[in-house]
């Protein structure tokens, strides 16, 4: 089937989407946007987080067909002329090791700071509870979120 959607502000269409396909697959394999990662593929790790009509979702749990006519933002859409302040803070604080979880953390962090520009540590932990990192031990990620909040 064909799906038509807006991705990172650009009208796109994907052909030959098969009926059981996830939005994650469609983004990575049909629309050439491999930034969103497929790790657990069951909603646990958050590495596939994208925005659907402005709200964060796990792209691995969304049927590609349900993205028809909707707006999707992926990690590729985060940077403008330069890095987004959230991306910049992750670089500055070394909050990245293997980097597999990073796209999801960036999307969840930006969503958090858009809703709450000065979150407390418990609020940061709660907001990022759907994102798992196997490398960093989370401390540098928390540093990066605090830095991003301060720099915005």
């Amino acid at each position: 089937m064909r799906i038509e959607l807006t991705v990172n502000g650009v009208a796109r269409e994907a052909d030959d989407v098969w009926e059981g396909e996830s939005l994650l697959y469609a983004l990575r394999e049909r629309l050439g946007l491999p930034g969103s990662k497929n790790a657990c593929e069951q909603g646990e790790c958050g590495s596939c987080t994208v925005y659907l009509d402005g709200a964060p979702v796990c792209a691995c749990l969304v049927a590609a067909g349900q993205a028809q006519g909707r707006e999707v933002t992926t990690v590729e859409g985060l940077a403008g002329d330069g890095l987004d302040p959230v991306q910049q803070a992750f670089v500055e604080k070394g909050a990245v090791q293997c980097g597999f979880c990073t796209p999801g953390f960036l999307m969840s962090t930006k969503d958090l700071l858009d809703r709450d520009p000065a979150p407390s540590d418990p609020e940061i932990r709660e907001a990022l509870a759907g994102n798992l990192c196997r490398c960093t031990g989370y401390e540098k990620i928390l540093d990066a979120v605090r830095t991003a909040a301060a720099n915005r």
């Binding site: 909603g43 958050g46 509870a129």
Partner: protein, 264 residues
Amino acid sequence: MDLNTVTGYRRARTRADLALGPGERILGGGTWLYSEPQLDTTGLVDLTTMGWAPLTRTDEGLSIAATCTIAELLAHPDRPPLAVECANALLASSTIWTVATVGGNVCRAFAAAGMVALCAALDGVALVWAPSGGGRHDYRIPVAELATGNGTTSLAPGEVLRALEIPARVLAARTAFRKIALAELGRSGAVLTGRVDPGGEAVFVITAATASPTVLRYPALPGAAALRADVDAAVGYYTDPLGSADWRRQVSGVLLEEIRQELA
């Protein structure tokens, strides 16, 4: 994950579209369907394209469409009491709330289904659409009875949950809530609610600790001993990696007593 067995996808626009063919299944938010292989599913019928208003207030109370997402429920000014607490009792993060539907949560009917807890706490009734033909009719059933076990419901094949109705009389009730999990943000081991209606009737509900909802009703707030005896006598406490049956019974007793005192 991709559902490799699925070869059909239909967007439902009318009730007739909801007639399921062999291997077809209703797609709500997809957060459970897409979280594990569905080997017996060959087609999806998208319910979210029916265009139902998420939440409607009537003289009779609230009608929550099956397709109302958990996020929409929480954001709605008319959301019922205990909605936030019961949504928080889900392990799921806000990325799940954005797309998971209230109806999908009820139909999946895990013991730790927060929307089953919510509906059971508020005497919620499910409006079920029967498939046309075959002499079956639409009907209403209390959600506490629709959820028959951990992951099972009384829904017959082809039946579709249309809405969850919360009666007006409970919207003014005083309510209280407790939950416990082995880890702070972990899957709920026991979810307890209490409600005292304006007329004085008291209703206590256990979910997550028993395989299906346990509803305890009293004409007025019971004494501690009577409530504890009923909690101990309830059936269906179960053991899994998130807690033993004995632990679930014990914490249900302790936390419902806290609720009883809070509502006294």
